[in-house]
Symmetry: C2
Subunit: 221 residues, 2 copies
């Protein structure tokens, strides 16, 4: 049995769930709140990052390590192209979102609205939220540009880049903070990814005490 | 010709230089200050991250993308083990340092001492420096533990993990901020990496106006 220790609001967790679903892997989810990990989880992964993959007595942790591990160990459903330069483009986009989008949008909007509430019982700071929404514009323009260039963000086929970007956006979208109508290409691309069977479980996610925005699970948004 | 656009104080740039040297690749360096990139560089890499690899009219940018590209395109000198679980361990350690060490040590010490000086002509904030030195202890203990476990940080052979960690440490060491004598295993490991021919050029680096600490280039420190 493959166990994935995850949390709904972790974009890295969502990415790994999407990859595993695209690769038609069977797995069991165990939810852990990243701000108060259980002793059991800290023992197998002292770094305390989510997600964590556990199987056959082995542990693979870290977003980057799990992503590449899943691609290498399940080559029957490829999410990286063969060509080395195209692979680099997929990885560049992944890195951009896992680092820049995470630091400039996630930490300003999602951490402010959700983690601050659960971890510190505090209300979000409106100045920080505003800065995050401003940063989001820049990233949405970039996604719009990438989506206009090709069928998928890094080329003609779906890849890890699409799953990564969709995972990040899906959490911001849960909070209803994406002005989709201003980004036509990005919207068409997201509608396509959102309609994939691998996305079904993500759209059922429910964060305790915070209902999803009205269009979150709507395929025609 | 392979051109690497880099900067001496970018740990990601240092990592790529080490990987290319380990793989015995010939390349030319072009130094760019990350806080005021030239128009020419922004045109080929609008994201503005360093390093950037340019060859045969192609551009590969982003730390993660370049690292994996170099490994895939130069398989004669392997820096990732064959075993999938061991590969995941190498990537977990890389990710840890590129993300956590970077956010908790680099941004507090190196950015404070060097980038702030060049970009904003400001002196470092002693509270931020102190917090960075405190964070450094935690990471040094972790390196000490990893170095004690095996010959190299992720196993019996040198890997991308060693080059990544050494690249990050080398910049903090340039500033003389690593209390090596408190971390015996880490010190022995770093002395071994520092003595490799691939490290020679790194030890010649000189940051304008900031001389290296007395032991920076000393193999017997």
């Amino acid at each position: 049995m493959v166990l994935l220790v995850h949390h709904s609001i972790s974009p890295q967790s969502r990415k790994i769930r999407l990859i595993m679903a695209e690769k038609k892997m069977l797995f069991v989810l165990k939810e852990e709140e990243p701000w108060k990990l259980s002793q059991e989880i800290l023992e197998i992964n002292p770094g305390g990052d989510l997600p964590i993959l556990v199987f056959d007595g082995k542990v693979v942790s870290g977003n980057y390590a799990i992503t590449e591990y899943l691609e290498e160990s399940n080559p029957q459903y490829k999410l990286l192209p063969e060509d080395l330069i195209l692979r680099a483009e997929v990885r560049r986009i992944m890195d951009w979102f896992d680092t820049k989008f995470y630091n400039e949008v996630y930490k300003y909007i999602v951490a402010e609205k959700i983690i601050k509430r659960f971890q510190f019982k505090q209300a979000p700071n409106s100045k920080i939220l505003k800065a995050g929404l401003n940063n989001l514009k820049f990233h949405m323009e970039y996604i719009d540009y990438l989506a206009d260039r090709n069928n998928y963000l890094a080329g003609k086929e779906i890849s890890l880049a699409d799953l990564t970007v969709a995972a990040h956006l899906s959490i911001v979208d849960y909070l209803g903070d994406i002005p989709w109508n201003e980004y036509k290409n990005a919207k068409l691309w997201y509608a396509k990814i959102k309609s994939r069977p691998s996305f079904k479980e993500i759209l059922k996610d429910n964060i305790r005490g915070i209902p999803p925005s009205s269009n979150y699970a709507n395929l025609d948004f």
